[in-house]
């Protein structure tokens, strides 16, 4: 019988496709994929129940992975290989992170002083009034950041911070991270928050407009002096009723391998999760090393819902 592996994935970067192809080439296991949104895929898995064909769920937000776990859809995986390669902070018994991305501050080199935007907290400073562009508050990227802030500052302080931030908005939140980068470059605002891989992608772009955008921008890794830059992950877990568990574990191990790690992260300009893997990515190199938040990544989920409520109260649309 033909060996197959069924993946439900909320990570759909086109660059990942050759990765899957390589796996099939290497193992003879055919991959079936279903791309969707985290929460809906989760609903599908839950409703399909014991007969679900899905083996693996991949997502790009630690909070979602945690939530899936709390709903009991994953099963624990024992793999010496995974334990050896993926650091403890990027791993739980049921799911594993394969790459990381950071939430950076970007500023316009002409209109903003670098010193004013060294921390996330700085962004709430009234002197930045009317200067900040950011995407909407209910996006997982921001909720995850909010969860981290709540973890480090406490809910009350975090709400105060959110209010300050909202007061500094140049415009009501709209668009994605790339839109924020372009807005800063064009002068609609001076500061923005963006995921690292968008910045890297722009840096590597051959498009002249993108180059021009990047020339006018500066990137800050926030909170280097304190709790570190907030990071999130892409990760996956093996599902409880996975019909092809062996293949699933094999795939997880494949993802943790050197070649896959390089590719998996590099394709989307992220940092590999596995220890000791060094991607050859000029953009990431240019962005340099930084101190990331050491908060275990699984903890984030606890703060996400609170973060939403805090943002709602603060008026972050």
């Amino acid at each position: 019988q033909e060996q197959v592996l069924n993946i439900y994935s909320a990570r759909h970067y086109q660059t990942d496709e050759s990765l899957y192809a390589n796996f099939t080439k290497a193992t003879g296991i055919k991959i079936n994929r279903l791309d969707g949104k985290e929460d809906e895929l989760l609903e599908r898995i839950r409703n399909e129940g014991a007969n679900s064909p899905a083996d693996i769920l991949i997502t790009v937000d630690a909070a979602r992975l945690e939530m899936a776990d709390s709903r009991g859809v994953f099963q624990p995986i024992q793999s010496k290989l995974l334990e050896a390669r993926i650091p403890d902070t990027l791993r739980t018994p049921t799911w594993i992170a394969f790459s990381t991305r950071a939430r950076a501050i970007v500023y316009n080199k002409l209109s903003m002083k670098k010193e004013w935007v060294q921390t996330y907290e700085d962004l709430a400073n009234p002197r930045l009034k009317g200067q900040i562009c950011v995407r909407s508050g209910n996006h997982p990227y921001n909720l995850s950041l909010g969860a981290a802030v709540i973890h480090h500052l406490g809910e009350a302080k975090a709400e105060e911070w959110a209010r300050g931030l909202v007061a500094n908005f140049a415009r009501s939140p709209k668009g994605g991270d790339v839109d924020q980068l372009k807005a800063v470059a064009a002068g609609e605002c001076s500061v923005a928050i963006s995921n690292s891989y968008y910045i890297a992608r722009m840096m590597r772009s051959s498009n002249a407009d993108d180059q021009a955008v990047m020339r006018s921008l500066g990137v800050v890794w926030p909170n280097q002096q304190t709790w570190g830059t907030h990071i999130n992950v892409s990760g996956a877990g093996v599902l409880k009723h996975a019909p092809h568990k062996a293949a699933a574990v094999k795939f997880m191990e494949y993802l943790a391998g050197d070649e896959a790690q390089t590719y998996f992260a590099d394709g989307n300009n992220e940092w590999p999760a596995a220890k000791g893997v060094k991607p050859k990515n000029p953009a990431l190199d240019a962005l340099g090393p930084f101190k990331s938040d050491s908060l275990p990544i699984g903890e984030l989920s606890k703060g996400a819902v609170t973060a939403q409520k805090v943002f709602d109260r603060a008026g972050w649309k």
Binding site: Q14, N47, P53, D312
Partner: protein, 585 residues
């Protein structure tokens, strides 16, 4: 004044033909085939229709089962205290704006092309449907790209005049007003299609009456055509509104926060699915109330054409500036909804389009076509059955059933998708167990594993569009035509086949067109319900757009438009050709 009854004994005539009136009729044998009302077909139809309504309504009902879920109070309180009032207000603004916008554009355009004779009218008549092929979220992307601060228009202004941000005001696309504009441009064809059919087929003869009573063309429009077309226009506007309410892609992109945002917030951000379902039910209740009010306010009025000559009188041929004004008026929505964004997409696709453009797109288009085609067929068939049953049998049961079927359209796609998942997955598991226990072999999930579930989800979501189109088409068939056919020995199903279907041809094609295009553009349900490795054009757009690769998404978006154009062009010619008396004008 009724005459007073008189005794029936003759004054003079000794010959009395009448038998004495028997107060209690003698018992006589009933004729074979005799039956209690409402008759065999009536009951059969009723049963089938209610069954279909239940099937199609199952997702809505399964959402509604959360109505009484406990433990949602906190989420409700949080939402009510913080964002919900705002959302409701925005939603109302949005609805009002879109309703007014799409009604005036749709009705206006329909009026111009059916009433006035100007150069290019025949082409414009079908071209005005084109924006239907343009998904609202794609319009949103392209207009944002064009008009935002960093877009070419504002950049050019800044460069030309040396302005900076503080020096000038420019309307913000990504705002409630912008959303109203997007929805109006993308959705007015619903109203246009419905109104046009009506103007062509029903309101025609009545116009003359208005004019013989001293009304000018303009007044006749307001006082005759518009009221006569009311059910159709109301149907079109209802579709537009439901689509607006159900939309998330566009409003999320614009960060315009509507009631749907609230539903998603409760579900995704606050992780409270029961609360989300309750919010969805509140939304449905709102829609249901509006629809019911509209129905109720019609009272006993009817909307059949009461004339026997039903050719639309066109104005005399117009030339010169009058013609120019009319052409211009028709070109505005066409350009805004299709030509301009289509051109921008084309430009984007050519300069920085999808790197994977190629054979893969043939497969994507094929998949899109398959689902859209199957759904359109199913919807039209079901819509005919439902509309026809409602005509035969005017009971409360059917009315409620019909209403439930109609609501799927107003439910945000993800919510209905989950609503679909619940019953389908349950059925699927049941099937699997059944086969397992009787054959000892587990087939896996048959429905969710194939496109069956996806088509079902789309039918549940889009059946209303077909029902509305068929419903307004049925209005032109007077009840006495049914009677005439039956007096010639036709059973109700035969009447359906030989009288209704031919007369409904235009409406059926319209229904098929609406559903087809809707499914082509549909995203949330497709995303969750599809089987493995089944990508469509819409999911391709989503994949790229969610990774903020809008320029690359343009290729797939353009493909959606292109594939959508095929049926539009084919069908609008058919529709034009299906009007009664076509060719004899």
């Amino acid at each position: 004044m009724s005459s007073t009854p008189h005794a029936k004994v003759p004054a003079l005539a000794p010959l009395e033909p009448d038998p004495p009136a028997t107060v209690t009729p003698a018992r006589r044998p009933a004729a074979p085939g005799a039956q209690r009302r409402p008759g065999q077909h009536g009951r059969w139809l009723l049963a089938v229709t209610v069954l279909i309504a239940l099937m199609v309504g199952a997702p809505v009902l399964s959402v509604a089962t959360h109505l009484l879920s406990p433990g949602t109070a906190e989420t409700w309180r949080h939402l009510l205290d913080t964002v919900l009032p705002d959302y409701v207000l925005t939603t109302l603004q949005l609805c009002l704006g879109v309703a007014l916008g799409s009604a005036s554009v749709g009705v206006g355009a329909a009026w111009l092309v059916t009433r006035y004779h100007f150069p290019g009218r025949r082409h414009l008549e079908w071209a005005l449907v084109l924006p239907l092929a343009m998904p609202a979220y794609v319009l949103a992307y392209t207009y944002t790209d064009l008009l935002q601060f960093v877009g070419p228009v504002q950049t050019a202004l800044r460069h030309t005049f040396g302005w900076t941000r503080a020096d000038y005001w420019f309307p913000e696309v990504r705002s409630t007003g912008g959303a109203v504009l997007m929805f109006t441009l993308a959705l007015y064809p619903y109203v246009y299609l419905m109104a046009r059919t009506t103007f062509l087929e029903r309101a025609a003869g009545m116009l003359e009456v208005g004019r013989s009573l001293g009304l000018g063309p303009w007044a006749s429009f307001w006082r005759v055509s518009l009221p006569m077309a009311r059910p159709a226009i109301a149907g079109g506007v209802a579709l537009v509104l439901m689509e607006t309410l159900a939309d998330y892609g566009t409003v999320a992109y614009f960060s315009v926060q509507t009631f749907t945002t609230g539903i998603y917030r409760a579900w995704f951000s606050l992780g409270d699915r029961p609360a989300a379902a309750q919010l969805a039910v509140a939304l449905l209740a709102f829609v249901a109330v509006i629809l019911t009010l509209e129905r109720a306010s019609r009272g006993r009025a009817r909307f059949h054409d009461t004339t026997l000559r039903r050719l639309t009188p066109l104005s005399r041929p117009l030339r010169g500036w009058r013609a120019a004004v009319l052409i211009g008026a028709c070109l505005v929505p066409l350009t805004g909804g299709f030509l301009l964004p289509g051109g921008l997409l084309l430009h984007m696709a050519l300069t920085e389009g999808d790197a994977q453009w190629g054979w893969r797109f043939v497969e994507l288009a094929r998949n899109s076509f398959l689902v859209a085609g199957l759904t359109a067929l199913a919807c039209v068939a079901l819509a005919v059955l439902i509309a026809y049953a409602a005509r035969q049998h005017r009971g409360w049961l059917l009315r409620i059933a019909q209403r439930i079927v109609g609501l799927g359209y107003a439910v945000p796609g993800s919510v209905i998708a989950v609503g679909v998942l619940i019953p389908v997955a349950r059925l699927d598991n049941l099937l699997a167990e059944l086969i397992q226990s009787s054959f000892g072999w587990n087939p896996g999930l048959l429905l969710t594993g194939s496109i069956t579930a996806l088509v079902y989800a789309c039918v549940a979501r889009f059946l209303t569009a077909a029902v509305q189109a068929v419903d307004s088409g049925l209005l032109k068939i007077t009840p006495s035509m049914d009677d005439a056919a039956r007096s010639m020995g036709l059973t109700p199903p035969q009447v359906l086949r030989r009288v209704h279907l031919p007369l409904l041809r235009g409406s059926l094609l319209t229904a098929a067109l609406l559903v087809f295009i809707d499914v082509m553009k549909e995203l949330p349900a497709t995303l969750v319900m599809r089987p493995f490795n089944f990508d469509t054009l819409a999911t391709q757009v989503y994949t790229l757009a969610s990774d903020e690769r809008l320029a690359e998404a343009s290729t797939a978006a353009l493909a959606i438009v292109a594939v959508g154009l095929i049926p539009i062009v084919l069908l609008s010619r058919q529709i034009a050709g299906s009007r009664i008396g076509h060719g004899s004008r």
